[in-house]
Amino acid sequence: MTGAAKPVGLHALVLAILLALHFVLPDYHHGVLARVLTLATFALGYNLMFGYTGLLSLGHALFFAAGLYGLGMPMQHLGWSAEVALPFGIAFAALLATGVGALALRTQGVAFMIVTLMFAQAGFLTLLYFNEFTRGDEGFVIAQEARSLFGISLADADARYIAALILFAVAMIATLILVRSPAGRVLVAIRENEERARMLGYDVARYKLLAIVASGAMCGAAGAAYGLLFGYVGATFASVQYSILPLLWVLLGGAGTVLGPLIGTAFMTYLIDLGSGLTDAYMLLAGAALVLLTLFAPAGLLGEVRKRWAGWLP
């Protein structure tokens, strides 16, 4: 492929800025940004499916929570170390995504949205039902001394930021490589015109399943990392709200763009942060943003930029 220099340069620059921010940000924003980077990884995973493959899921909280609980439960109840629990959480999310994908992909469009919503809701309710082990809505805290990876304590703010940045960078680079690869081109082809992709000889069902599994694994990684970095595991992260939020972040930043999820997550997190200082009804902002985006900017912030000025943006 030609013209790789500009996109590669831009994304390297973004990572460099994020690294530089580590040294200059005041404590409060440093902490918020670490959270944003972790959640933006969740959004990147969601974007793989929604932005690039055109599959609108309303149940991605399930995969985030699968990573979160896949890490948290064995650490809490079986005394696993983080080194073992982290890959386990990711694998668990990928496995769940395979199962949900195999069933949900038999449907399309609106039915697909409802099926994913229902599976996620069943997962959320299951967490509440086994409240004895999961502590339900209240959740549980992972002990500080257990939250270390290869001898580095992730409870420490500096290590936490760098770990979140590494997580995000890996997910972003993986996305970039995937979408510029032949397989990524096929995913976009499926989004644009599924029947045509099929008639070019592509096994559309297999590619879609691939997208769901990759997306589930990435969201699971974000969930597992969240548990490790912030030390809290709770059923809220499996609720509908956490299926809607990644959709909102990606829509806001720009579906089918590599940097959109980061922009959307950062923007919305700060907005909600500001809003929750003013009122309990801070989700009003999320609702208004969803309606306004649907009405006026369906391509999102970066999508509009790409449309108007920078067609080369991946």
Partner: protein
Amino acid sequence: MTVAASGPLLETEGLTRRFGGLTAVDHVDFQLFPGEIRALIGPNGAGKTTFVGLLSGRIPPSEGRVRFGGEDVTRLPAHARMARGMAYTFQITSVFANLSLFDNVALAVQRRLARGEGLEAETMAALDRVGLAGRARQTAGDLSYGHQRLLEIAMGLAQRPRLLILDEPTQGLSDGEIEGFKALVRDVAAEATVLLIEHNMDVVMSLATRITVLDMGARLAEGDPAAIHADAAVQRAYLGG
């Protein structure tokens, strides 16, 4: 040496498709040999599009069998048939409107390339063949209708198919464009067998080496262009006599 080399490339036996009470394709036996340019003609509603839908796997048959290259592909889904060397261009242009011409054709090329080597060269070659190489970075949706049809054909060629199915390729083209198209098909026929569904009898008569006529879902006649031209039954079917 193999059966496939000497026998038909594509063969159907008793191929039938019913929609509710309507039989759109009715026990059609059909053979297509390597190197042919076969035209499939018939009045509106004769079942032509349903028939190629059955061949390409877009529509499952109610009865009968389809063999491609000597292999029974009746149970294979469309994408698996395409992967075995069929290519299908849509009656209503169906390019990826939001992608560049390059990406459109690259999608057709990349499936057969193991490691993606030569993707760029092959893609550009296919675009060049239909005269669109200069527009490789344009968005397909911005092309004129005639150019979209050409892009569609480039995508078919880029798959290097053994069988290229063209569903009404000249519909909506100007006379000048049709002349170019005819030259292109003759050129393609050196490498691939062509099955052409076409309304324009001019195109059919000048391109086809053999013609099959469908009427009411059944095979009404088959022969070389001169024989079909003279066939009384075909005249009746078209004139409704």
